[in-house]
């Protein structure tokens, strides 16, 4: 026996010793007890959850982290990373950094496999991939996971960890692999992929139309290509060489409108009913002026992807999976303000921050974004003054607040009324060095900020600056014309345009594997995008807010002021 194997046994023994001793003593007590220990019959759903926990979290049924060896001799606990880190949530694998991680869903494992990589460069020198193998059985799969040996005897490259799993853990994991990406998602047939878009009745119809038109134009265009391909074989052949997913060329897209009426508490049941009648593959776009949460929760519960809904109030979560937002909405502006102040920390000189917050949805979202980020940066909570719906802050009250707190910065999370506050700051002797307002909340009013207030007033601005945005105009103009975009609804149209661009790429990258988790897996592997509206959109496994940026800007002098940039797109 080689030294290595010896070592290995000793290690395994060490790990298992407590268990071994426990089993032995149980055995000594009575034979029936051990029967019970081995015959823990889990319900299928419990077994599924335990298998899922091994796969996704690297945690064994005992609660202990799963142990593995990687790179030949590097020990890693499952809590650092587990199967999902490489084979992804759908189990369909990935190609990253020149390493091919093959699929590990039951459907692929339990049949002979032959690699076909179209259009990807794979570094065969350093990470020889599995190119071909016969079908797995439960037993040979266990050998693969423990020893890294395929049924044809090929030793896998050392990126794939070798796992220490006992028979029961192995059985749970294998049973789970068999359920992974097993049944294609609803809403997809040979000829069709169904989508729906959610519109709530608090949205004025001009806005709803602005959201819908680009999506419908996109669907119309895609579907018209099918006829073209059927008629003109030459264009079909040309297209086929360009797309990575040939079957997609002939699939029709449908887009239903799911209109939600009445109070948000009733949306869930309306959604469930729409979904029962038409189980779509995913939700595309959508728009609401209220919190998106009820729709977000519905997506989460049904594992129904929702791509780029238009809302200022997304759910802020690092773990939820099924909704991909443009950004964190208004919250992100509060976050940017906190990061900006953190950067200017010297100017604060240990003094406090004063927040004046209108008790409105926008005001609250800005304030929450600021406070949570500020806290994470390690600062004490700001002094917060909340204004009721119609409450006006007098000059005297403001002066008093400034005297009492001597803040280093003042944040005014309010609409047009913030202008009055700015005005009284002009002459105030206690004016803090930095004043921050939200350009989204102020809307068109930003342009009427008087000259003498401009040099101490910073605004959060969540989009590419207008002067830079010009260059994008030309290439989206034809599409926007067809989608009836107007200046008043330009932002909404552009957000829908982004949804169509990302969907095109996502559908192609699925390569015919219409599983919902795979949709997010492929989006998670996309490169950063420079599209209209946002300076940069970026993606990554589990990342659910594509735009991470927000500028801090000021108005320059003059009657027709431009916005001047005072920060990076993403502030660190």
């Amino acid at each position: 026996m080689s030294n290595r194997t010896n070592n290995c046994i000793v290690q395994s023994l060490k790990r298992l010793l407590p268990g071994v001793i426990l089993c032995c003593s149980l055995f000594a007590l009575s034979a029936t007890v051990i029967e019970d220990v081995h015959a823990i019959d889990l319900s299928p759903s419990e077994a599924f959850l335990q298998g899922e926990r091994i796969y996704r979290d690297g945690v064994l049924p005992s609660g202990e982290p799963m142990q593995a060896v990687i790179r030949g001799d590097v020990d890693v606990p499952g809590t650092s990373f587990s199967c999902v880190s490489c084979h992804l949530r759908s189990g369909l694998g990935s190609i990253e950094g020149g390493v091919v991680t093959p699929p590990t869903n039951g459907r692929t494992l339990f049949q002979p496999y032959k690699v076909q990589y179209k259009q990807v460069k794979v570094d065969q020198k350093f990470y020889p991939a599995i190119l071909q193998r016969p079908t797995y059985t439960d037993a040979s799969l266990a050998t693969a996971l423990r020893e890294g040996i395929t049924p044809s005897g090929q030793v896998m490259n050392p990126v794939m960890p070798r796992y220490y799993l006992d028979d029961k853990e192995m059985a749970l994991l294998i049973a789970y692999l068999k359920t992974l990406s097993d049944q294609p998602a609803p809403g997809v047939t040979e000829t069709e992929i169904k989508f729906a878009t959610v519109i709530t009745d608090d949205v004025p119809s001009a806005q709803a139309e602005a959201m819908l038109a680009p999506l419908e134009e996109y669907v119309r265009h895609k579907n018209s290509m099918i006829n073209l391909f059927k008629k003109e074989k030459r264009s079909a052949r040309m297209a086929a060489t360009m797309v990575t997913s040939g079957e997609l060329m002939y699939k029709k897209l449908t887009l239903s409108r799911w209109m939600l009426k009445g109070p948000p508490e009733t949306w869930r049941s309306q959604l469930e009913e729409y979904y029962r009648q038409e189980p779509v593959f995913a939700l595309l776009g959508g728009i609401s002026n209220s919190d998106w949460k009820p729709i977000h929760d519905f997506s989460e519960a049904n594992h129904l992807p929702c791509l780029f809904p238009q809302t200022d109030y997304p759910v802020i979560s690092t773990t939820d999976w099924y909704t991909l937002y443009h950004s964190k909405g208004i919250y992100q502006e509060g976050e940017a303000a906190a990061r900006f102040l953190n950067e200017k920390i010297a100017a604060l000189q240990g003094r406090n921050v004063l927040q004046i917050v209108r008790n409105s949805r926008q005001g609250q979202a800005l304030s929450t974004g600021f406070q949570e980020t500020w806290r994470d940066l390690g600062f004490a909570a700001p002094v917060t003054v909340t204004l009721g719906e119609k409450e006006v802050l007098s000059k005297e009250q403001l002066q008093k607040l400034l005297y009492a707190n001597l803040p280093a910065a003042i944040l005014v999370w309010d609409g047009a009324e913030s202008l009055a506050v700015l005005e009284s700051l002009v002459t105030s002797s206690e004016r803090p060095a930095i004043t921050i307002v939200s350009a989204s909340y102020l809307g068109d009013k930003i342009w009427s900020i008087p000259e003498q207030e401009r040099d101490f007033t910073f605004m959060t601005y969540p989009y590419r600056l207008p002067q830079r945005e010009e260059s994008f105009k030309r290439f989206i103009e034809p599409f926007m014309k067809k989608a009836n975009s107007s200046a008043a609804t330009e932002v909404i149209s552009k957000k829908s345009y982004i949804a169509t661009q990302m969907l095109t790429q996502g559908l192609m990258d699925l390569r015919g594997n219409y599983y919902r988790d795979n949709l997010f897996d492929v989006i998670g592997m996309m490169r950063d995008q420079e599209l209209p509206l946002y300076t940069r959109l970026s993606f990554g496994p589990g990342q659910r807010y594509a735009s991470k940026g927000c500028y801090m800007v000021q108005l320059d002098k003059g009657a027709k002021p431009a916005l001047i940039n005072k920060s990076d797109w993403v502030i660190h």
């Binding site: 089993c23 032995c24 990373f81 423990r146 994470d376 990554g540 496994p541």
Partner: protein, 192 residues
């Protein structure tokens, strides 16, 4: 038969079950190794604690310095590189402060101090392993300085750079080393 003997038989029985479930260890792998000179840009980055760090002074250390490029939500490559970092710290034990490990984010959009701190915790990193983020401009400068520029984070490759404190030269490792190879490389630059 006495009890001790009984137990040992059971132990043996269990041991043979254990044998089946013990993973085998693969052959050591190949990697590409070169010696390079790099000039560091004078940039300030932000670490996992939100502290501003001058990269030049962190790197111009009298300890060996190891640099890699990763990001918080990265698959496949980063877990493997990071497992190597934490393994080196573990192998050095109480002497782990003799080496400065630096991971530089190639996804500065998403990698905030919070994300980076959680990442290090997941790997049970000890002090002496810093994860740095910063403006895209500065990150690009650093990647260029190490001849490791990639315009798109998804096209990164496994790269480890080890600085020899004696002559300031860098060992550039393309590919993934085993932990003993990594330890050897570390020792070659004077690491103890």
């Amino acid at each position: 038969m006495n009890t001790a003997r009984l137990t040992s038989i059971f132990l043996f029985l269990f041991a043979s079950v254990v044998l089946v479930s013990s993973p085998s260890r693969a052959e050591e792998l190949k990697y590409k190794r070169t010696i390079e000179n790099y000039t560091m840009p004078d940039v300030t980055l932000v670490n996992q604690n939100g502290a501003r760090v001058k990269l030049r002074s962190l790197i111009t250390s009298d300890k060996p310095v190891v640099v890699d490029f990763i990001y918080g939500t990265c698959t496949t490559i980063c877990p493997v590189l990071s497992a190597g970092f934490v393994n080196l710290q573990q192998k050095l034990g109480p002497k782990s402060s003799n080496v400065q490990l630096i991971s530089i984010s190639i996804d500065p959009e998403n990698d905030t101090p919070k994300v980076m701190k959680e990442y290090l915790q997941r790997y049970r990193a000890k002090a002496g392993w810093d994860f740095l983020t910063g403006s895209r401009e500065n990150i690009d400068k650093v990647m260029r300085a190490f001849n490791a520029y990639i315009p798109n984070k998804m096209s990164h490759y496994p790269l480890t750079l080890i600085r020899n404190p004696q002559d300031g030269k860098w060992v550039r490792i393309f590919g993934l080393t085993s932990s003993s190879e990594f330890l050897n490389e570390y020792k070659k630059v004077g690491g103890i």
